[in-house]
C-alpha cells in the first residue's frame, strides 16, 4: 500500500500535465467557444494541481512550486493518458477529455469517502468545479458518439484511461463509460511526450531558479 501523499502526487501530476495539454488549444481551438472552454478547464486543472501539491508539500516539508517544477521527468507520477500531445486532433482530444473526466470523478468520489477529513473536503471542493468539466465532456460525447473517428479514438485511449484510476476502481470506471475492462496502461512508464512537455513547462523555472519576476 503506497502512502497517501504518493496517491495525491499522481492526481496532482495528472491535473498539472493535462492542464498544460489543454492549454495548448488556447488560440487554436476549432471555434471560439472551445478556445474559452479549454483555456478555462486548463486553468481549473492547474488550480487543482496547486491545491493538491500544497497538501503534499505540507507533509513532505517542501513547496508546491518545488513539487510542480523541480523534479526530473522520470519523477513525475502522471498517467500516460494525460501526457499525449493531441493538438490538432479534436476527436482524440474530446475522447481523452471524456474518459479522463469519468476517471477523475470516480477517483474523487473515492477520496471523499476515504476517511481523511482535509482531503475529503478538498476533493469535494474540486468536484464542484469538475462537475462543469463533466457537463462539457458529456455535451461533446452526445455530439460525437456516432462518429467513427471519435469511436476509434476512444478505443485507442481506453486502456490508458483505465490506468488513471487504481485497480480496485477500474470495474466502476468500465461500468460508467460502458466498456469492457481490459489490461490497463499503467503509470509506471512515461511516454516520450512527457519529456518534451517538461522541457517547455519547466523552462522558466530552470532559467530563473530564484523565481521569475514580471
Amino acid at each position: 500500500m503506497r502512502h497517501l501523499h504518493e496517491r495525491l502526487l499522481e492526481i496532482a501530476d495528472d491535473e498539472l500535465v493535462l492542464g498544460w495539454r489543454n492549454s495548448e488549444w488556447t488560440g487554436i481551438a476549432p471555434f471560439l467557444e472551445e478556445d474559452v472552454a479549454f483555456s478555462s478547464i486548463a486553468q481549473n486543472e492547474i488550480g487543482h494541481a496547486r491545491a493538491l501539491y500544497q497538501l503534499v508539500a505540507r507533509e513532505l516539508g517542501t513547496t508546491a512550486d518545488e513539487l510542480a517544477l523541480d523534479r526530473q521527468p522520470g519523477e513525475y507520477r502522471c498517467a500516460p493518458l494525460v501526457e499525449l500531445r493531441l493538438v490538432d486532433d479534436w476527436a482524440k482530444t474530446i475522447a481523452r477529455h471524456w474518459l479522463y473526466e469519468a476517471a477523475d470523478w470516480i477517483r474523487l468520489a473515492a477520496l471523499r469517502r476515504g476517511g481523511d477529513e482535509d482531503l475529503a473536503g478538498l476533493a469535494a471542493k474540486i468536484d464542484r468545479e469538475e462537475a462543469y468539466h463533466r457537463m462539457h465532456a458529456d455535451m461533446w460525447f452526445a455530439r460525437l458518439r456516432d462518429e467513427a473517428r471519435f469511436q476509434e479514438a476512444v478505443d485507442e485511449l481506453w486502456p490508458s484511461a483505465l490506468g488513471v484510476v487504481d485497480p480496485e476502481l477500474r470495474a466502476e470506471l468500465a461500468a460508467l463509460v460502458g466498456r469492457p475492462e481490459v489490461p490497463a496502461v499503467e503509470r509506471d512508464a512515461h511516454t516520450d511526450a512527457l519529456r518534451e512537455l517538461w522541457d517547455e513547462m519547466t523552462m522558466v523555472r530552470r532559467s530563473e531558479p530564484a523565481g521569475a519576476q514580471w
Binding site: S39, S40, H48, A51
Partner: protein, 161 residues
C-alpha cells in the same frame, strides 16, 4: 485598537479583483476573524481553486489590515466550506446591477447540463428568463456565457458551485 468589528469593516472595503463592485465580505470568502491584541488571523476560503485572483485577494487583505495597525495572518482554508450560496444578498444585488447574473441557489445535488440548458436563468439587463446557454465556460473560472433572446444581449452568468 484593533477589534473584530473594525477588521470586518476593513475587509468589507476590499474589492474582488476581478469583479470590483463586490467586496470580499459580500463574496462570502472570509470564514472567520480572530483578533488577539494586534495579531489578526483571517481564515479565507478560495472561490474557484484555479482563480488567479486568490493571491491578489490575500495580499489586498493583508495590506488593508496593516493599514489598520494590525499584524495580519491570512490562512487559506482548502476545504469545501465555500459555495456560491455564501454570496450575501447585498453581493448578489451588486452583481446583478453590474450586469452579472448572480448564481442560482445550489440545489441538493450538483447542477446538471439539462438545468443549464433549460432552467430559468434571468437576464440581468431586462429581467427576461428567455435566455439560452452559449458556453458553460467564460472569461474567468466562475462565469458561464448566456444570451438573452428578449433583449438580444449576451451576458455573464455566475456559475453555481
Amino acid at each position: 485598537m484593533v477589534t473584530s468589528e473594525r477588521v470586518w469593516e476593513a475587509l468589507a472595503e476590499v474589492p474582488d479583483p476581478e469583479i470590483p463592485v463586490i467586496s470580499l465580505v459580500d463574496l462570502g470568502v472570509i470564514r472567520d476573524v480572530d483578533v488577539d491584541g494586534r495579531r489578526v488571523r483571517v481564515s479565507f476560503t478560495p472561490t474557484f481553486l484555479g482563480c488567479p485572483a486568490l493571491e491578489v485577494m490575500r495580499d489586498a487583505m493583508s495590506e488593508r489590515l496593516h493599514a489598520l495597525g494590525a499584524e495580519p495572518e491570512i490562512e487559506v482554508v482548502l476545504d469545501d466550506s465555500w459555495s456560491t450560496d455564501r454570496i450575501t444578498p447585498e453581493g448578489r444585488e451588486k452583481l446583478r446591477a453590474a450586469g452579472f447574473a448572480p448564481p442560482s441557489p445550489r440545489a441538493a445535488g450538483a447542477t446538471t447540463l439539462v438545468q443549464l440548458q433549460t432552467g430559468a436563468f434571468r437576464c440581468p439587463y431586462c429581467g427576461s428568463t428567455e435566455t439560452r446557454l452559449e458556453n458553460i465556460f467564460g472569461p474567468t473560472p466562475c462565469r458561464s456565457l448566456r444570451y438573452c433572446t428578449g433583449c438580444r444581449q449576451p451576458f455573464e452568468q455566475f456559475k453555481t458551485i
